[in-house]
Symmetry: C2
Subunit: 246 residues, 2 copies
């Protein structure tokens, strides 16, 4: 079987989760960049890999696979030497991890991705910002954060379902929340700061997966700076030039 | 370990999928009705089972589990004698089934459930019908049906991912589409009739899982009749009494 190919755009949350998992698990793989902002996900070559034209996707031998949770579960099962905490073999524990990963789609993912797109990222994707959709998404996001804080992070384990080490679910969902980095910093803080366990969990997952976590997120930190500069320029245009020397 | 308890409302699509799977797999279980229209999902007893107050949920020994896909996967793994086609042990095949089940949440589920609620079921759930949300949901539903027809049902197998027998994904997604039964029949036909493979696949899944499929769906057929009568009465009120003798 040929080397695993991972088609990813590091600006995509689930792409980052798959890349970090491959790196921390010592999986030998080739990263193939699919730049969504350049429309590379629409190319005929990539459509051959994933007819739904979304990242991440993998090719492993004759298997072409997409949907990041299915990819993560496949990798944790198909490669040897993967630490058991990522996708526990014990059935009850595995069931809980599957439960939180299934919950994610219509809740945290739905809220976070639509809030970030409709407040910030839409123009870079050739779409319009949509304040009404952003408000609806914010409601879903805040409700999901409350569920994370009160239910999924209940206990002293520091990870989801009272885990003491990260699972595939922790990695997927923390990468999702990291996307909030591109928001205005006051807005990001307003949304996240009431959820103390969530904030600690993000740090726990970052620590448990470094240096890979920070390396794979570097592109997001650069995007964060770019959006900060754009917002500063927009504010200056609105209020006129400041008195400070340029 | 005590007998499996399945908390379900047969008016809920994922509840039906879990019940049909238990019955066809010969799992010894107790069905506990949670009537959503009577608010029974909000009771303290059920909140102990599922703090998110949604059906289906199961209790099996010390495990409390919700999210229907996680439940189905757990049951297929924890009980003996389950036919392999439901959740294949071969990793590539299993990965494909996981992929389509992950895709389901933000696509077919999102479109179908919100269309049915916002055109038909909302009043029974104490909510208002919302035509604008219905239009948005219809777009997601139609796009999901096209993906089912062109991609997931590609091939001659008759089931998802070119399967020749049903998987957990087939059961989950066909139960979702069955919810369209409560729509006005012309509307249901308008939505589904362009998708010939989808229609055949619904029949294939029904046949493969009968008599359990029809028995568990009976409540839905009764609801369909009730909604038909309501629509007829509303139409009569609008047009005035007919000339025909009562």
């Amino acid at each position: 079987m040929g080397k695993l190919k991972v088609y990813a755009d590091r600006m995509s949350q689930p792409s980052r989760a798959v890349l970090i998992f491959c790196r921390i698990s010592g999986i030998d793989f080739e990263e193939i960049k699919v730049d969504i902002s350049k429309g590379q996900h629409l190319s005929p070559d990539f459509t051959e890999v994933n007819p739904l034209q979304k990242v991440p996707a993998i090719v492993h031998g004759s298997l072409k696979l997409f949907e990041s949770h299915a990819i993560l579960v496949y990798l944790a099962s198909a490669f040897t030497g993967i630490a058991d905490h990522w996708y526990p073999t014990e059935l009850s524990r595995r069931a809980k991890i599957n439960s939180v990963m299934d919950w994610h789609h219509s809740n945290l993912r739905n809220g976070a991705v639509n809030y970030v797109i409709n407040t910030t990222l839409a123009p870079a994707l050739g779409r319009q910002l949509n304040p009404k959709a952003a408000t609806e998404a914010e409601n879903v996001l805040l409700s999901s954060l409350k569920t994370l804080e009160d239910i999924w992070l209940n206990g002293d384990g520091g990870f989801l379902c009272n885990g003491i080490q990260p699972s595939l679910a922790d990695l997927s969902m923390v990468c999702e929340l990291m996307q909030l980095e591109v928001l205005d910093e006051r807005d990001r803080s307003r949304i996240l700061s009431p959820y103390k366990k969530v904030l600690q969990w993000i740090e726990n997952t970052r620590t448990a997966t470094n240096p890979h976590f920070e390396e794979v997120h570097n592109i997001l930190y650069r995007a964060k700076k770019k959006f900060e500069q754009q917002r500063a320029r927009t504010a200056e245009t609105r209020t006129g030039p400041s008195n400070k020397p340029g």
